[in-house]
């Protein structure tokens, strides 16, 4: 391992800029001067070999970043809309919201048996469902319903056009009440999912 390699590894893997003396902590054999030398070496090497990245000095120290000229490619890479399909969980959740709207997260989770905040969020991001109100009861939970985009995408003029054939599960067709504890607002059996649901939502 030479000094430049160690410095390169540290700069590469660090999630924040590092000062030369901080980088020097990687190994006893290093000190600030040797790190600075290595940084120079790397800088020149990246330039000469025309790497797509460079050593950048910011207020808090040094960092490896892509060169600005590549910004357009990266942007493109991120924003090219790739056609996508809904996942199995998303389909199921969308079906439940479509037939039982307005419906809260707790009820969706009750029917699906798994925490659903992540999938609700992603359906919301896709513009297929939206918050249409707040329910009664503890915490006045958000209620979800389908959007105009939903109708447009699937080619329905209105929600009345949603087919409700016999073979539809009774929980969706006849909107049977969920559990006897519905009015209490909170099903103790769902407790663990509540906590986890919150976690899942995070980015």
């Amino acid at each position: 391992m030479n000094v430049a390699q160690i410095v390169e590894a540290v700069l590469f893997a660090s999630d924040a800029p590092l000062k030369a003396e901080e980088i020097a902590r990687a190994d006893e054999s290093l000190d600030e001067d040797r790190v600075e030398e290595a940084l120079d070496l790397l800088r020149r090497f990246y330039d000469e070999s025309e790497r797509a990245f460079q050593v950048v000095e910011v207020a808090e120290g040094f960092q490896l970043l892509t060169r600005p000229d590549f910004a357009t490619y990266l942007e493109r890479f991120d924003t090219v809309p790739r056609p996508s399909r809904l996942s199995g969980p998303a389909l199921e959740t969308l079906a439940i919201v479509a037939y039982r709207q307005p419906i809260g997260r707790i009820e969706v989770e009750y029917i699906r048996g798994v925490s659903s905040s992540g999938v609700l969020r992603s359906l919301q991001d896709r513009g297929l469902i939206e918050v249409v109100g707040r329910g009664e009861g503890l915490g006045r939970p958000l209620l979800y319903g389908t959007t105009a985009r939903f109708l447009e995408h699937f080619g329905f003029a209105s929600l009345d056009e949603l087919p409700r054939p016999e073979e539809l599960p009774i929980v969706l067709r006849d909107r049977i009440p969920l559990g006897d504890d519905e009015d209490e607002g909170e099903d103790p059996g769902l407790q663990p999912q509540l906590d986890l649901g919150g976690g899942e939502g995070g980015e």
Partner: protein
């Protein structure tokens, strides 16, 4: 529970030489893990398990379990019950001596499968460790995410509708995760039996299980049986069955019939005694006859 090691007065019980049984049960991930440990540390041929020896050792180890504390106590006890069943089946004459009829076959298959899974998870652990030595780019400048709203959607209504047809309310145990997470506590069953017998002199075993169905039923059955056996041993109840597979009845022993000192030297006694006492206290009922043989010093 550390108070009394399984000194187990009855000399018939197997006492391990090196005391390897005195291991922390928390270390084992479950009954299969413990069973494998017993088999592998004693160089036992897994295809010819001496079932009574292993059962005895397993039961000794399981006696160490503090049901209130160990997550998987119920599963250890369930395994204990099925070991006892296999042991009983081994005693019955089998139609022919072909291997397929060996009552141990399914257990052996499960043990081998479990051992293989354990081996694989060890390899996964090694792979995880190796992967952990490599680091990805630490800092990636955040860039605007494409708006999901602009992403063309390829999903057709048929897909949504098919998903709708598949929607089914999960079974109770499926959403009440705490039910499966928490083992059925034997002290609850002890309490159930005692409180039922406070209102009558006898009760059918099946009535103690009324209203319990599905996957839980088996575990509840095992725990109720174990609780009954325990109470019988303590001479608080006795059991009667007229014929094999007929209804099993639990009878309350009358006051004074209880045996004060009943097997108190046994390690299990202390554990169960303690919990039964707690249960009685919270329910605010302390029938003189039901006083567990337990001192408050522990």
């Amino acid at each position: 529970m550390a108070l009394s090691r399984p000194t187990v007065g009855s000399g018939s019980l197997f006492i391990p030489k090196e005391g390897f049984l005195l291991v922390d049960l928390e270390r084992f991930q479950g009954p299969l893990d413990l069973l494998l440990h017993l088999i592998r540390t004693q160089d036992i041929d897994i295809f010819d398990i001496p079932i009574s020896t292993i059962t005895r050792q397993f039961l000794i180890a399981v006696k160490e379990i503090d049901v209130g504390q160990l997550d998987h106590a119920g599963e250890f006890l369930e395994m204990a019950a099925s070991l006892v069943r296999i042991k009983a089946q081994m005693l019955l004459p089998r139609p022919s001596d072909d291997e397929d009829q060996d009552p141990r076959a399914e257990l052996v298959r499960r043990l081998l499968e479990y051992e293989q899974i354990r081996e694989i998870s060890m390899r996964l652990k090694a792979a995880e460790l190796e992967r952990g030595r490599r680091f990805s780019k630490g800092f990636v400048p955040p860039r605007p995410r494409p708006r999901q709203r602009d992403v063309p959607l390829e999903t057709a209504w048929e897909d949504v509708f098919e998903a709708a047809l598949g929607v089914e309310l999960p079974e109770v145990h499926d959403r009440g995760h705490r039910v499966t997470l928490r083992p059925v506590a034997m002290e609850d069953k002890v309490e159930l039996i005692l409180s039922t017998l406070r209102h009558g002199t006898r009760v059918e075993f099946s009535r103690l299980l009324r209203g319990i169905g599905g996957v839980e039923a088996r575990l509840h059955g095992v725990m109720t049986l174990l609780a009954s056996l325990e109470l019988t041993r303590r001479r608080w109840v006795f059991m009667r069955q007229v014929a094999p597979f007929s209804e099993l009845w639990l009878y309350r022993r009358e006051e004074g019939q209880g045996d004060e000192g009943g097997g108190a030297a046994d390690g299990v006694e202390a554990v169960w005694g303690e919990e039964a006492a707690d249960g009685a206290e919270t329910s605010g009922e302390n029938e003189p006859g039901a006083e567990p043989p337990h001192e408050e010093t522990a």
